[in-house]
């Protein structure tokens, strides 16, 4: 099997994996990076949302070969050591998480949105399609607005 080399959370990694293996399983099963979650495998629930070169993407529907030489950031790479990202801080303040399974993806989606626009409108927040089965959307919206104000 070919070697796949890319950067994840600032560290260069090389794994032995077939080109078409979805990146999610390379992260979770070969590298032990288990913050990104499986929820559908077809890029509709968005639970695995992470960043590829700074933009939101979904590793469950991205073959590992497609990230060769590129930079992947997962929820584990968002905080600066013990210092949380302002979006994570806002999540704590609003006490957003219930079961929490979708929240790494929700947070990464929110961070990507705030990179694109520093003051997102309600309509722009509506476009985040990540499923939260516990129904925390109201607090997610408040947390995104609070993080925007803070940043």
């Amino acid at each position: 099997m070919p070697d796949q080399t890319f950067t994840v959370n600032g560290e260069t990694v090389t794994v032995d994996a077939p080109d078409d293996l979805p990146l999610l399983w390379v992260l979770r099963d070969l590298l032990g990076i288990r913050g990104p979650k499986y929820g559908c495998g077809i890029d509709v629930c968005k639970a695995c949302t992470s960043h590829l070169d700074g933009e939101a993407f979904n590793p469950c529907a991205t073959p590992v070969a497609a990230v060769a030489g590129r930079s992947v950031t997962t929820i584990e790479g968002l905080a600066d050591g013990d210092r949380l990202h302002p979006v994570q801080e806002a999540w704590l303040e609003q006490d957003v998480a219930q079961c929490g399974f979708c929240q790494p993806g929700q947070i990464m989606a929110a961070v990507a949105l705030l990179k694109r626009t520093s003051e997102p409108t309600d309509a722009e927040i509506d476009e985040i399609a990540n499923v939260c089965r516990c129904g925390t959307y109201v607090r997610i919206r408040e947390a995104i607005k609070a993080a925007a104000a803070r940043m």
């Binding site: 399983w25 559908c40 079961c99 929490g100 990540n130 089965r133």
Partner: protein, 782 residues
Amino acid sequence: MTENAEHAESVEHTEPAELAEGAERTELAESVERTEPAELAASSERTEAAEPAEPAASAERPGVGRRRFLALLVAAPTLTVAVQLDPQAAPAAPLPELPDLGDVLNLAALPTSHLLTLKVAEDGTVDFWLPREEVGQGLTTAVAMLVAEELDTPLEKVRVHLDKARPELVFNQLTGSSNSIRSLYDPVRTAAAAARQRLAWAAALQWGTDPERVTTRDGRAHLADGRSASYGELARAASSDRAAEQPVALKPRAAHRLIGRPTSRIDARALVTGKQQYTLDLDIPGAKPAMVRRPPTLRGTVRRVRNAAAVEALPGVLAVATIPTGVAVVAETFGQALAGKEALDVEWGPGPVDELDDETLRAKLRGAVAHGFPPLLGRHLDAEFDFAPVSHAPLETNCAVADVRDARATVWAPAQSPIAARKAVADAIGLPDALVELHVVQAGGSFGRRLFHDAAIEAAQVSKAVRRPVRLMWSRIDDMRHGRMRPPTHHKLRATYAAGAPLSFRHRMASVAMDVRHGFGDALTAGLTGLPLLGEATAQVMFALSLRSPYDLGATRQTLTELPVALPTGSWRSVYSGTGRAAEEMFVDELAERLGQDPVAFRRARLKTAAQRAVLDKAAGGWGRELPEGWAQGVGFHEEYKSRTACVVDLDATDPKAPRVMRAVIAVDAGRAVNPRGIEAQMLGGLTDAIATTLRAGLHLDKGLPLEGSYSQFHYARQRNSPYEVQVHVLDGGPEAEPGGIGELGVPAPVAAIANAYARATGRRPRSFPIDARIDFEPFPR
């Protein structure tokens, strides 16, 4: 209209006293947040001395007037306390006059309530083993608050562990029926209060003084002369080398500094950093990913695998194994297990419902109550409602880790009924129960799904077959199509009335039989009779204990008819009430209209208690406000689990094909509100469930299988369906209130509020849910 207006007016004037009482209720969420932390800390200080401000007599005896719990010191190197029911103080009345599901479950759990354990370590950490499951409802946080409150220690010092399956707990390790805090409130506080008193005693011994002179605060014991010691320093001295009773007095409510204060989740940081470990995040050495190929129809069977060798030769695939529910592929990664399972060529046998589709099912349900009501000449209102089956669809799909080797089994799973799970695993792999260990792992959502342990059974079967530990995961498609579902239901309602007032109310509910074989039925029947009940009888008991009308509508009767159809059903958040009570709340709107009365005023006049009316009044504060063209308000009310809630929504139905809830006001009285912030979260979750299942989310059955296979097809609500503004008012249940249940309370009222708003906005009363049941997708291959 004149007559109606008068009627409404007379209602407003009949109960000034009760109105005043309602107005006095304080709003915890707001008032508590304004309290300064310093003040709260000060009020937390307590002394053992009988000070005038807080005489010992005012301290609450555990379970006075209800049932009494005893605390025992356990022989251990550091302070360890266990709690048991006081055998001398059997409850005077085993059940209240009108028991609900939780009362009965509490009674079943009573004999084993003594097996709660709390330990104080030498670093001051407090460990508490919780015989329940955390599924996102915030239970570990609420329990940690109870412990920290009675121990006078910071919340951060308390660690709550999910207990593994402990068969000796019998009926006291079941998470369901919104009953956990109701059942744990007294025993958990008793354990912590006993530990605090023993620590104060140890400090007094050390300082050569009277224990009454020792105060406790922030995890330390203090003496007036300035001496102090941390709980960690006292933990060894406070320990006991033999079992002994420890007298306990619980804090009086006025001294609570943490209970009642909006508190964030204790696991919030782990949840937002990706560090929280769910079942498949656990590092179990050597455990390999496993997935199961399932039949093309529900509960079909495996006849033969045609290409096992070819699949075993695929990259990364380690083994193929047939189990009763399908064919498993074990691989190095889940990606490869999934590719392997899709490559399998299997000859399938039929299942029990291969021909079943929506139309047949609907006809059966309607047929079951077709002769429900006789023709009637007098004034009456009839209505019928249908609810589609709904997937639990927790975001974490069905999963478990199992290691079955050397005639022993260890299983890790999100399990709400771990004792039953352990037994089912043992039976499935032919081991004695005693050789199976089942660890309970925090779940990525449940909504009732984790009452079933099918993934644990499968993981054990696969591990046994391939002789290595496995991490078994269901694909989303399988989770939705082969998983459990809320049974589809049909409802027939009738009210008779005369002179503007209802005389009688009947509700006949037909449902596909709900599977309650998960330990729940055993607990229920033990609580009621000590005798086993058969499946259908269990369902009847559950129905009778849960579906209650809060209104005086004259002679009232609600009945359930269950159809034995072999669908994989299960209780779904709020169980019978999510459909049954929601249908009743829609019917109440229709009845009010028929009688020419306003829906809020009609409810207000018919509710039975001041507490109910206070909740309705709070939620309906903005009732009748001006809204844009095409919008309307709707109201719903629900009472269950000793809690009550009302909801008013503003619905934008400008495009009747794409309605959206724009605003919601929810009031909730959950008795003694342990954590108002957690209660608010549960109400927000119930609202979102209501938005999804009322407007757009339902399953379609076709040729023995749901068509829906992912969130792109089963339309659970997303951010774009969620309101821009929600207010949740947490009311205080009054000084004598005990905690009510909250996890499932929040669904029925908003389901009805949304449907009622839709009717008012469009002029069309919805009869079938979800309102928009279009199939807008190409189903996945079977």
